[in-house]
């Protein structure tokens, strides 16, 4: 009997104007959104290849260990074409420094040619789906009971000898079945466009994740159908019901996200970035002061150094990179011993700076959790968060990635320590050690004008990177993703069950006279 009622509901919905309008709406919005997101993804891929090539080239050109600071380029996530999540705000490049522990990537992952268009184009398939499906579900269910009451068909149906529960389940199922074709059209359109785009390759695990998102989309639709049905069961007229439903939609789809963001920023305080920068600058100054006032004099004293430094070729920059050639063995020794002491100190100071940065980042994470907790009050929020997790574009996935990056930095430092690279000549010079002469001999050659090739940094050999640990990132698999989003999934399903019970109880008391 339930199936019979559901079929009737489905048939009446499918031939209705609202169904046609819904389909047309989807046919207009989904391809538009998908094409824009694919275009954005293509840009990311293009940037990724460029950045990756540059990072690899830079690494291959490295001649000294003080310059061995790999840059990690995060590959774009194909599922971000469905759900951008926080990926839209994050960069894709992380340079591994020993003097800083990486917290946030640099660069702009979702760069478009025109930055003024960014905010407009940041809407993705899942957000569109969340807005569109919720309003369609409400439009199909706001008059689920009121219409039948107004048309007198409910009295006739209930006089036929069926229970209210049967009628309730049949009608809900019917509306759900009517919206599933709309949902399928949405997904098919998006997937077809993606399949015809050569740049995007989705692996089997991602397909499973997409299938799961599809299943949760059905749960999401059901929740809004039940909200509409509940409002219908509490309303005397369809005109009242539609107004309440639209207010609910605005509340859940638009106001709750705004309130969530605003209250997260208002109630969870995070250290101002200016204060953070000031603290970091202070630690940097303290580090350089220690190097200049403690380490360097100590080494100079050990070596009885009282002369001036002089190099034929010097390169140096941030994070202790120093590459010298064409200088006396005494200076090289002085620099080597200084580095052997300053680099571990640099790493210690990185830990100190990280403590401050982490506190700030923990504040951001607390804000994110607070925002998510409030956003969880909306079914739209729950659905979007589950989708973000399954697409690996949520904060947790990003933090896991950054944890891996930091772990890689530790591995690299461990490699340097185990191989005594900080105290090696190769840390600061690529000039063969046997060709480094005493200061006196070096000066003579410099004065003669007959400069050997190895005095130029560029002529010296690059590092053999065999054995140097390289970054490898393993994404969480579907099982892990499900366990990560289990709480939200349980809440989503619980909301559904609670709404079923509430709506049915309300319909059981519904006055059909």
């Amino acid at each position: 009997m339930i199936w019979h009622i559901a079929r009737k509901e489905f048939f009446l919905n499918v031939i209705s104007v609202r169904f046609a309008v819904s389909l047309i709406l989807c046919l207009l919005i989904i391809p538009f959104t998908t094409v824009i997101n694919i275009d954005d993804y293509r840009n990311q891929v293009r940037l990724y290849h460029m950045d990756k090539q540059k990072a690899e080239n830079d690494l291959k050109k490295t001649r000294v260990y003080s310059g061995l600071r790999p840059e990690i380029i995060k590959p774009p996530n194909p599922l971000s074409t469905f759900c951008k999540g926080i990926d839209r705000n994050m960069g894709n490049r992380v340079k591994i420094y020993f003097g800083d522990i990486p917290s946030l990537p640099e660069g702009k992952a979702s760069l478009r040619d025109n930055p003024f268009l960014n905010s407009f184009f940041s809407i993705d398939f899942i957000r569109v789906l969340s807005i569109l499906l919720s309003v369609l579900a409400l439009i199909f269910s706001y008059d689920l009971f009121t219409r039948e009451k107004e048309e007198g068909t409910m009295r006739l149906a209930l006089s036929a000898g069926i229970s209210r529960s049967t009628l309730f389940v049949g009608k809900i199922l019917g509306v759900l079945l009517s919206l599933i074709p709309v949902l399928i059209v949405n997904y098919l359109l998006c997937i077809l466009i993606i399949l015809f785009s050569e740049d995007i390759s989705i692996n089997s695990e991602d397909w499973i994740n997409l299938l799961l998102i599809f299943v949760f989309s059905i749960v999401y639709i059901l929740i809004f159908i039940l909200i509409g049905a509940y409002i219908s069961s509490r309303s005397k007229q369809s005109s009242i019901s539609i107004v309440v439903c639209l207010l609910c939609w605005i509340w859940f789809a638009f106001l709750v996200p705004i309130i969530a963001s605003y209250s997260a920023e208002s109630f969870v305080r995070v250290q101002l970035s200016d204060n953070l920068k000031y603290s970091i600058d202070e630690l940097n100054a303290e580090f350089y002061s220690k190097v200049d006032n403690e380490i360097t004099p100590k080494v100079e004293k050990e070596l009885n150094w009282n002369g001036q430094k002089g190099f034929w070729w010097y390169s140096g920059s941030y994070d202790g990179y120093e590459e010298i050639s064409g200088t006396g063995l005494e200076i090289v020794e002085l620099e080597r011993r200084t580095k052997a002491l300053s680099e571990p100190l640099r790493i210690d100071y990185a830990d100190k700076k990280w403590a401050i940065i982490k506190e700030n980042q923990d504040g951001f994470i607390r804000q994110n959790r607070f925002q998510n907790a409030i956003y969880s009050l909306s079914p739209s929020g729950l659905f979007e968060m589950v989708a973000e997790q399954l697409c690996r574009t949520d904060a947790k996935a990003f933090l896991a990635y950054m944890d891996d990056v930091r772990e890689y930095r530790e591995t690299l430092i461990e490699y340097f320590v185990q191989n005594n690279l900080f105290e090696s000549y190769r840390y600061i010079t690529a000039q063969p050690v046997d060709q480094i002469l005493s200061m006196e001999e070096t000066k003579k050659i410099a004065n003669s004008g007959n400069i050997p090739d190895c005095w130029s940094n560029n002529n010296n050999p690059v590092l053999d990177l065999t054995g140097v640990p390289m970054f490898q990132y393993e994404q969480a698999n579907t099982r892990n993703l499900i366990s990560l989003s289990l709480v939200k999934i349980i809440i989503l399903l619980s909301v559904c069950v609670v709404l079923v019970v509430m709506t049915q109880r309300s319909f059981n008391r519904y006055d059909i006279r």
């Binding site: 009737k8 009446l12 007198g152 006739l156 006089s159 036929a160 069926i162």
Partner: protein
């Protein structure tokens, strides 16, 4: 058989809509319930259909308590409302199919539906037309067909002739007469004294929730039903001194 035993209904706003009504309609009997608006006629029907719960007394349909076992009780009753709307985007036949299956008639063919529609005098051309194009009389006929198809032993009708032209109302009465002859118990709430006189075996007049008068066919034909009815109505509308 339809029975109301000391049936009362008091609504949440404390209005006593029905006050200890006793009623029994036997097989093959047509009982017409007359009364002004708000007299309690529709409330009586709503109680028989278990759309509302009684505040006191009980309703029996073929001996089954409609409050305790509403689903079983409703198997034995068909209902025709005042304004049969049905599903406008469904054809007459599709509407019949839907409600027939709800009423437990699973195996009826298209021809069966056509036959029943012919029986109530619906034109062939209308069988597959969408109901939203139908006149009220045509919709009422479809509603009656639904009741006939269910083939329940009892029929409840709430103002079935309201808004119908005399010809359509007369046709409806003929169909009801056929049903009565088939042994159905029929309870019809109406304002239409003329139609009540034409078909009723007994009439009852309701006033302020009470069944104030019941007359058999012989009695009301003898006493002039219009006069009796008007007397009761005037009594009600007299100002309180």
């Amino acid at each position: 058989m339809l029975q109301a035993i000391d049936l009362s209904k008091r609504y949440e706003d404390d209005v006593l809509a029905l006050d200890a009504v006793n009623l029994e309609i036997k097989e093959g009997e047509v009982f017409c319930l007359l009364g002004a608006n708000g007299a309690g006629k529709t409330t009586t029907i709503n109680l028989f259909l278990n759309f509302i719960d009684p505040s006191g007394g009980k309703v029996l349909i073929n001996g089954i308590d409609a409050t305790k076992d509403p689903l079983e009780a409703k198997k034995h009753v068909s209902y025709v409302s005042e304004n049969v709307m049905l599903y406008g985007n469904f054809s007459a036949r599709q509407n019949l199919d839907f409600f027939a299956k709800l009423g437990g008639k699973q195996n009826l063919s298209k021809e069966d539906y056509y036959r029943h529609m012919r029986e109530v005098g619906l034109q062939e051309i209308a069988f597959e037309k969408k109901l939203k194009t139908f006149s009220k009389g045509m919709r009422q006929k479809v509603g009656l067909t639904i009741a006939i198809i269910k083939d329940a032993t009892n029929i409840l009708l709430d103002e079935p002739t309201s808004g119908l032209d005399p010809k359509a109302a007369s046709e409806l009465m003929q169909i009801l007469h056929q049903q009565k002859n088939m042994g159905k118990s029929i309870l019809m709430c109406t304002h239409d004294i003329f139609r009540a006189k034409a078909i009723a075996d007994r009439v009852g007049i309701m006033k302020e929730g009470r069944l104030v008068m019941v007359r058999s066919r012989e009695e009301f034909l003898e006493d002039d039903l219009e006069r009796i009815y008007m007397d009761y109505m005037q009594e009600m509308s007299l100002p309180v001194e």
